[in-house]
């Protein structure tokens, strides 16, 4: 063997001339590798494939003319973009290739941005300068950022677009969930513009919890919130039996009575289920509260807590006091103060108490708490950061209880701990962490939420948008979110509106909920008497809706106080409510309006004027619109509905003033028959 090698060495490098020849040959060969590598490069291979593919197409000539060979590059220095993706993704701008299913030749789907202006990596991440698939798409030693999986792509929209954007449902939902599920109670999220993301859930104060519920209920709730209510936003802390026992002991021992919140009521809870159900329905409790029906489906809104098993939770005397005036126990509650009389309180309390699940607390038996248990419970309460969400007397709200997430989207993969078997990427880490937070190690405190896979993807999408680039973009490159309005109405009427929790459903001047109509211009739109009557006894304008305005049992004084305030203050400068009369239009004009209504504009498709013939019920019923709206509002509304209420479904029909005047005359002649008769009788 050794002999052989020796003779080979002799053959190759035996004398200097031969050695020189051999070395030169090797050198020459290695020089040839570079052009060879270039020749066999991936992008050239794809470009060949592309040319072959388009050859037999009917649009081959156009495509061939558009084709440019060689490495392509989009260079946008101010965005830090050097993207060579179009070297392989050759057909990116060819809309006519939409039938092609093989990558990299698909055209880009239609989006509002142009690739020449933004490049590719701004949205897709990955390594733009790379010219091989592996380097461009995957993370390499020199480049950590891999391509962003398509399901999180909207996070890139969120870097610049801070306001909710039409068409990015997932991003919008993710941002909403961060607030709605109170993630931001523990995790600070500072937006790039300096705002701190605020929670929109409303975890109750626990300082007077013993007034409201029993220690047994607290125990069972802590062990598994979802066993009590499928819709619970409280996560599961996976507490041991002893820990749940001690926390419940501490919370009860720590609770102080809230004066008035358990005031006894003269009449006892009424067991009449029919009367209770009808009062529950009339008061539109289901607009905010959900109840599981016999089929197991949840029916109702999610502003207030689910009431399926509320009878197993609350103390009867607390419930009665709460129904009478919830603001005594919780001054900031979203629940309106219904002016129920004692009999109504008794009926409703009886109805709700019957919503109990005897099995729920059947297996909870707690002995009297010892001082050690209470002390241990207090320690656990501060360990788990309960006061991050709940107000608890004597326990300070911890600051920065959990890691700040303001730049989570740029967290280096090297700083993350992965579970065995999971993909080593940041999006996967975030998604898995939300899905099973406690799997990442012993002693972790983040509780277990029950999110659907879609919700987890949404949350990860929203979180990925909080990254270094988003934080450092110049303001000229971003679209700022509208600052949250903290509008509050003034005076006596203002207090009344707070008491009735109008802002839980209605929005005024940018503040409030979105379940019910925006009332910012209500003062220009409605007639005074109608509003008084409506507040006293809200009849329904849209019979197709389940969620409606409840009856608050207002006194005459309250209804007129509120009406005067609304009519005076919530005026639209473009609508002068007294500029057009409420009657006295010529019969000819009214008749012309009727023809336009049923003919040219076919309003009956969505509205009802005559209950005998019309059926449409997308828009409000107009049978007595002449007793409800001002003529000036009807006129301006039909001219341009979106100007008065952005996003309304009513289409802008670009009507002439003449048509609008006739339609207004026709509609204002639709008076409430009941009221006209009263008016006639008075005469």
């Amino acid at each position: 063997m050794k002999e052989k090698l020796k003779s080979m060495w002799q053959t190759l490098f035996g004398d200097s001339v031969r050695a020189f020849g051999v070395v030169s040959l090797v050198f020459l060969a290695s020089m040839a590798i570079a052009p060879a590598k270039n020749h066999f490069s991936e992008w050239r291979h794809y470009q060949h494939g592309y040319l072959k593919m388009i050859r037999n197409r009917s649009d081959a000539v156009t495509l061939q003319r558009h084709f440019q060979g060689g490495i392509q590059q989009i260079w946008l220095p101010d965005l830090g973009v050097t993207d060579r993706c179009t070297s392989c993704h050759v057909g990116l701008k060819e809309a006519s290739l939409s039938d092609v299913s093989t990558q990299p030749f698909r055209p880009h789907p239609v989006i509002p941005h142009k690739v020449e202006q933004f490049g590719c990596t701004i949205c897709h991440r990955g390594q733009g300068a790379a010219t091989t698939v592996a380097e461009a798409h995957n993370s390499t030693l020199a480049w950590e950022q891999p391509i962003l999986p398509a399901k999180y792509i909207e996070s890139s929209c969120g870097e610049c677009h801070r306001e909710p954007l039409a068409g990015t449902l997932q991003l919008n939902q993710g941002r909403h969930l961060l607030s709605r599920y109170g993630c931001v109670h523990c995790h600070t999220v500072k937006m790039p513009d300096g705002r701190v993301l605020k929670a929109t859930d409303d975890p109750p104060s626990l300082s007077h919890i013993a007034d409201k519920t029993s220690r047994e209920w607290i125990y069972a709730w802590l062990k598994d919130p979802e066993a009590y209510a499928a819709t619970a936003t409280m996560p599961n802390f996976k507490l041991s039996d002893n820990d749940a026992r001690d926390i419940s002991a501490f919370l009860i021992a720590n609770s102080t009575p809230q004066p008035g919140s358990t005031a006894a009521i003269s009449s006892k809870a009424s067991p009449d289920p029919a009367a209770g159900a009808s009062l529950y329905g009339e008061s539109f409790c289901a607009s905010c509260h959900a109840v599981q029906n016999a089929a197991g489906n949840l029916v109702g809104g999610d502003i207030g807590p689910e009431l399926t098993r509320v009878g197993s939770k609350v103390k009867p005397e607390w419930l009665q006091a709460w129904l009478r005036n919830p603001r005594i126990y919780d001054v900031g509650t979203a629940m309106p103060h219904y002016r129920f009389n004692d009999a109504q309180v008794a009926t409703l309390a009886g109805f709700l108490e019957a919503k109990a699940d005897p099995d729920f607390l059947a297996n909870v038996h707690l002995d009297a708490a010892t001082p050690e248990q209470i002390a241990h419970g207090k320690r656990l309460v501060s360990d788990y950061g309960c006061a991050s969400c709940h107000e608890i007397a004597g326990v300070k709200k911890p600051e920065n209880f959990a890691p700040e997430l303001s730049r989570i989207g740029s967290k280096p993969v090297t700083q993350l701990v992965f579970l065995p078997g999971m993909q080593r990427t940041l999006p996967d880490y975030i998604a898995t962490k939300i899905k099973q937070p406690r799997a990442f190690g012993q002693g972790l405190k983040m509780p277990q939420y029950t999110f659907t896979p879609t919700q987890i993807d949404s949350l990860a999408t929203a979180l990925l948008a909080f990254n270094d680039r988003a934080a450092t973009l110049p303001p000229s490159r971003t679209l700022a979110a509208k600052p949250e309005s903290d509008y509050q109405p003034a005076g006596k009427a203002g207090k009344l509106m707070t008491d009735l929790a109008c802002f839980s459903c209605h929005r005024i001047n940018g503040h409030g909920g979105d379940m019910a109509p925006d009332l910012t211009w209500e003062g220009s739109s409605v007639q005074r008497q109608w509003l008084v009557d409506f507040l006293k006894n809200p009849n329904t304008l849209r019979p197709a809706l389940i969620r409606r305005m409840p009856k608050f049992n207002l006194s005459d004084g309250e209804a007129s106080e509120l009406t005067d305030y609304i009519i005076t203050v919530y005026q639209n400068p473009a609508v002068d409510r007294d500029s057009m009369p409420l009657g006295g239009y010529s019969q000819g004009q009214i008749e012309l309006g009727r023809q336009l209504y049923y003919g040219k504009y076919s309003c009956q498709g969505c509205h009802i004027v005559d209950t005998k013939t019309d059926k449409g019920y997308i828009g409000p019923t107009l049978t007595s619109v002449g007793s409800r709206l001002t003529a000036a509002w009807i006129f301006q509304w039909m001219k341009n509905p979106q100007a008065l209420r952005p996003g309304t479904v009513e289409p802008n029909r670009d009507m002439s003033d003449e048509d609008v005047r006739a339609l207004t005359a026709f509609l204002i002649s639709q008076k409430d028959p009941a009221k006209s008769e009263i008016a006639k009788a008075r005469k």
Partner: protein, 248 residues
């Protein structure tokens, strides 16, 4: 001697070229599949076909299929496998039918908009593959925008289905609107026709005035988005609405 050295040099070059062209290749390890005992003769869809989701996101409902024998009775314990174009994920990718002969899987469509053809297969007694094809639709950004506009402005009349939260106005209309899935009719209409009827209302194409004009409410790009959504969800498929992604 020189010939020898030449040979060796060529070998060296060849080796270098081979080394240079070598690239990393990923090796996928097939997951162990459960072993079936019984065999069926046919697969039928129970629910979950023809759904619509945003590209890259899970379908709203799970896909449920049933394996039947020659007589049409459900076969429990048969092995069913799901497959589709790369990027489509099934959870689980295969399974044995339950006591009702059914298998349920959650489907996440891949990141590109278009139709996806899912293949559901099982083997019969003769060890032959029995397959069922199911189509699902993934929406891109523009179509998602169109879908939102549809939900806000069109769906209440054009979709005959009512839900508890949203009562359809379809039955109230004397002249019935066309559901947007009605491909037989809508595929024959050009984009220009659809634009005209949306912008100027039914009378623009001698159709009912109950369809109002939306041209002053929706922008041009809104209307384009709506049309791209209508094209995407059409059944039968619109031939111009993009490719069908199927198993390679």
């Amino acid at each position: 001697m020189i010939r020898h050295s030449l040979e060796i040099a060529t070998l060296l070059i060849a080796a270098l070229v081979v080394l240079a062209s070598c690239s990393r290749k990923t090796v996928s390890i097939p997951l162990p599949t459960p072993t079936p005992t019984p065999f069926g003769a046919a697969i039928v869809e129970s629910s979950g076909g023809k759904q619509i989701a945003q590209a890259g996101t899970p379908l709203p409902q799970a896909l449920v299929v049933q394996v039947n024998d020659e007589q049409g009775t459900a076969v429990p314990g048969a092995l069913v496998e799901f497959s589709a174009a790369p990027g489509v994920a099934f959870d689980p990718p295969s399974g044995l039918t339950d006591s009702g002969g059914q298998v349920t899987t959650n489907v996440t469509l891949a990141g590109m908009a278009g139709r996806y053809q899912l293949t559901v297969s099982t083997t019969d007694k003769a060890k032959k593959k029995v397959a069922l094809k199911i189509e699902e639709t993934a929406l891109g950004h523009q179509q998602t925008l169109g879908r939102q506009l549809n939900d806000q402005y069109c769906d209440r009349c054009h979709n005959p289905e009512s839900t508890v939260e949203r009562v359809s106005n379809y039955d109230n209309l004397e002249i019935k609107p066309h559901p947007f899935t009605e491909g037989d009719l809508l595929n024959k209409m050009s984009d220009a026709d659809l634009t005209a009827i949306i912008s100027h209302g039914g009378p623009a194409l001698n159709k009912s005035a109950l369809m109002p004009a939306w041209g002053d409410t929706l922008s041009k790009s809104d209307i384009q988005a709506l049309i791209s959504y209508i094209r995407a969800i059409s059944d039968p498929r619109n031939p111009n609405a993009g490719p069908v992604y199927a198993k390679n």
